[in-house]
Structures are given as structure tokens and as C-alpha cells.
Symmetry: C2
Amino acid sequence: MRTAILGASGLVGRKMLSLLESCPWLNSDPALLTSPRSAGQEIEFRGRKLICREVSASAFHQIDLALFSAGGAASRTWAPVAKNAGCLVVDNSSAWRLDPQVPLVVPEINGFMINPKPGIIANPNCSTIQIVMAVAPLDQAVGVKECHVTTLQAVSGAGQKAVQELLDQTRDYPAIQTGTSAYPRTMAFNVLPAIGAKTEGGSYEEETKVVLEMRRIMDRGLDLHVSCTATRVPVMTGHSAAVRLVCAAATTPAQAVATLQNSPGVQVLADPHDFHTAREIAGSNDVFVSRVRQDPGCDRSLLMWVVADNLLKGAAWNAVQIATEIAHQIAADKQG
Amino acid sequence: MRTAILGASGLVGRKMLSLLESCPWLNSDPALLTSPRSAGQEIEFRGRKLICREVSASAFHQIDLALFSAGGAASRTWAPVAKNAGCLVVDNSSAWRLDPQVPLVVPEINGFMINPKPGIIANPNCSTIQIVMAVAPLDQAVGVKECHVTTLQAVSGAGQKAVQELLDQTRDYPAIQTGTSAYPRTMAFNVLPAIGAKTEGGSYEEETKVVLEMRRIMDRGLDLHVSCTATRVPVMTGHSAAVRLVCAAATTPAQAVATLQNSPGVQVLADPHDFHTAREIAGSNDVFVSRVRQDPGCDRSLLMWVVADNLLKGAAWNAVQIATEIAHQIAADKQG
């Protein structure tokens, strides 16, 4: 397996590289591809320094599998080039997620869609991944009719610059920042209900992603009623989501907890007063579900609190899981 | 009108005093009452220094109207004493809010319940006030069947110590605090889905308050289905709430905006992409509604973003509004 990472010097790219270090199936160094601006940077891998190279058409010629995390524009440019060079792309941008030809995969939910042929597999939106990890098992077990979400998202989802800007603004408190570049308004000691570009119906991109991607991953149509308000909070890493579900039939918190206890990649707390927080679970690959309660007004409705590391399960870890499955399938094909 | 403030040295007590400075009906200095610990402190009022005195039974003998903001235990002790001394108490604690003999009042919604007789009037929970200010006008206009809320609450709701502790923890970042006293876990750069004591059904006090107090203020029963997940975020002042409503009939965002434009004390943005944030509106007495959108899955359902200063409309301003109405009624009675 010859691998590459496009966007290797970014927050997610570095997490991907760090996770690949301990993948037994990877027995050669990944090619580190970046924009011209970051080319020449050195990044450590398995104790040695690898040098980032500028991405180009020829860069994909010797590559079987490429992990992309360089934004939508780079993905739209380079994914078709890589595919034509015979490469399989696991893409972390939103560029291909709604393309009907491109599987949108969370391995624990719809890993059966992974196919080791040249082409593109899309890694879903960070918030969507953690929500679907908690909701899809309940959909399988009891049927879910509605899913209403408020997200409280960390700034690392917006990249290194956003993290630095929050630190700078925090130091400047109580000054209100007028010239912020990573955020639409001052982020420090504030909450911003606007993530990404404006989309239809008064929504923002992040909200629309949750609605559309959830249905794709769970293979559901408009019969799954999803709504989302997405907010950015002054947290470095770890997205939180307050989720309200309406199930097809009466469902107790105990039933939901039992289902999630048997769901791979999910850690669930049975005591509804206990909870996980973003700062405490940052660094873990799992999705953490807590505060599983009955909605006081409806025996078909459940409330829960879902937290995950947005850079790991929300991005790099989900992509590396897909890559690992591809590697295993290729190895099995060769053996067969 | 002879007035007093119990808890005058606290965050809310000081805001009450500051708001009373510009009340034309108040023509004498309020008595400032505190715990023994804070007695002797000087606080400025209309350019002069007033001295806090320790609360005692005799302190209420010459008082017509007392504003209480010293916590539930102090209210349970002193409100009956004050009432027996012929005083009218506007109480900002949760001690009396669910007592059927005690009106729970947001003046714009159910101000008709204010009655200038000795007794207790309860000031609702901070989050509940701002939510009900946005929801009750829509209930009047089109009928509301369900209200599902996620709150993102500022630390000043937990008092001065909590504010200082967030500043300390922020300075200590990235250290995780083990010995926090104002919070159940580290607050800086984190979100905590737990406010107040544990209540039934896996809820926390703040969530239960929103459910029960909303129904009381709106004079609704179990037919109003309310659910709430309450979270604390690293914001100094200004609570935010993501609200999802299900109305009795199809309702457009334009209808909702028009209704709220005619609602006193509410400022609403018609462009659903525009929004208010906690830091920006802190210091204002109004409730700010924005991001009014149709829930993409239901024409009877609306999403909105509701922000208010938790120390002002969420506490001191609502209490001073009640006090002002009482003063006007007493003045009218005297004239009549």
C-alpha cells in the first residue's frame, strides 16, 4: 500500500499522520502533499522527519490510497486527478459528500459501502459523524422518526488559525474584536450561531450538512425529520451536541443505553446525571453518549448529550478507519 | 415608597440597585441588606455611598417593597418575615416560584397578576424569562404545542465567584482544574451539561425550572410539551437558547417575526442569517430573537435563537419592572 496525505500540514492532516503511525497495514512512509505555501515543512512520522511536497498530477502516480484534508476547492481539483491515476481517495472535505456516485461512510454504520476500487469515498461532516454514531443504532433497534440537534462546536474544526485567534482574543478580553478573520464575530467568551456559508431557508452550511448527510449515511429519506442549529463555542477541541429523538415506538432510556452499550465505537453512561465533556474526551477516538433521558412530555422521545473529538472520530480517525478497511480488503483480494 | 434590597452586594443585587437609580418613582434610598459577611460594604447609589446592613426581622418594619436576590435559603427564611411586617417581596430565588399562592411574573406576559398587597411575587428563572418572552407572543398569535430548548448559559448566572473562577481557569489553560468549586468540572474552554442540583428523571434543576416555570407563566398545563437541555458555556454574561417550536397550525418565519416585532421588550431580526450574540447584547434590558427559520421538516415548526442578558431581563430588570408596576399601582390607589 502506497499512501499519501493531501493537506498533511493542517490540523486534521497531522492527526491522520499520527493515527497512521500505528496502522500495522502501512509498511511504507506516506507521501505528504500540501499547497505550495506549506511545501518544504518537515513532519515527524515513526520517529523520522518526512518532507511535505507540493501537490501535482504526478504526485498520485505511485499512490494506491490518498487521504485528503485540504478543503473543498483542493478536493474538487485533485480528487478526479488522483482517481484517474488509479488512486482511491478518502476525502474529508464536503466537496463530494452529496454526489450519488460517492459513498458517504461512517464505518460502524455503513462500512459495507467501502469498496477498494479507484474512486472517491467521502468522510462525513464532523458533527454529523458523532450524531449518527449515537442515532443510527437506535434507528436500527427501535426506529427513529425525528432527530433535532443543537451543536456546540469547537474552534479547531475551523483550523489552526481559528485556534490561535481564540487564544489571542481570550488574552485581549474584555476587548471586543472588530477585525476577526476566522469568525463572523468575537469568539472569546461568546457563542456564535453561524458556521460556514449561508444556505437556503435561513440555514448555515453546517446545519444543512447535518440534515442532508445524516439521511445519506442512515439510508433514509425525507421520512427522517432532521433539524439542526449549529453553534460555535469557545472550546478548543471536542464537539458537543444536544440531541432530541422521536422514536417510532415508546423507548426507555434503559433500552437506548443497552443498545448503545453494544454499539462499537460508542461509550455510554447509564446514570442520566453523569456526563462527558469536550475537554475531557479530547484525544479519544470514541463517541461519548450521556444524559440519556426521557423527554418529560413524550414516551417516544429521548434526550441525550453526544460528545466526540472533532479532529479524531469527526475527521482523521473516521478517515483512517475507512483507509484501514480498504487496506484489509485489498490484502484479502491479494490473498484470495 | 420605602424599598430594600436583600442580597445587595451580589451580582444581581448590584444590577437591581443600578437600575433603581433611574426609577422616577423611587424618591428615597433603598435599604441595602446582606448576610453578616457582607454587612458594612459600601455601594454607590445616585452618587452617594450607602452602607450594607445585616438582614434582620426589624429591617423590614419600615419597608413597603423589598427586592430579594440572596438565594433560596435566605428567601425561605426572610420572605415570610418581610410579608408579616407588611412588606411586598419581589423574590429572584427559586424558593416560591412553584407555590400556587405566589404569582410568577414576566410583566410583558402576565403582568396582570401583579397586585400591590403585602406578599410575595416570584421572579422567574433567567433562561425561562427570555424563552417565554419569545414564545408566549407566538402562543397568543398562533398557538404553541411544543417547545424544545437547548440553553447555552453564561457563568455570571452562578455568581461573582463563578466569574472569577472562569477567569482563573482561563489563565491556567491548558491545565484541567481538579479543584473547581463553582462548577462540577473544568469550565474554561469547555461546555458543562449540568446546572443546579439533580432532579427527577435524570434532569438537572435548571432544565426542570424551564419546563415547569414556562407552563406557569404562560398559564398552560401538560398540553404544552416542553423539553430542555441546559448547558453552561464559558461566556461571562448573556444566555443563549436554541429553541424549536411546534405550533398549532402552519406558521411562517415572516409571521413569527411580525408577531415579535409587535412584542414589547423583544428585538427581532427579520433576516434569518443575521444573529445576536451574548457578548454583544450584554448590558441591554431586551430579549433578542434572531435566526427565525422554518424547521426543514415541518411547516408547523420554527427554529429560533434567543439571547438576553441573564443579569438584566433574566433577573434584575424583570424584578425592577415588577417593582415599577407595583409602585405605579400604589400611586394610582393613593390618587384614587
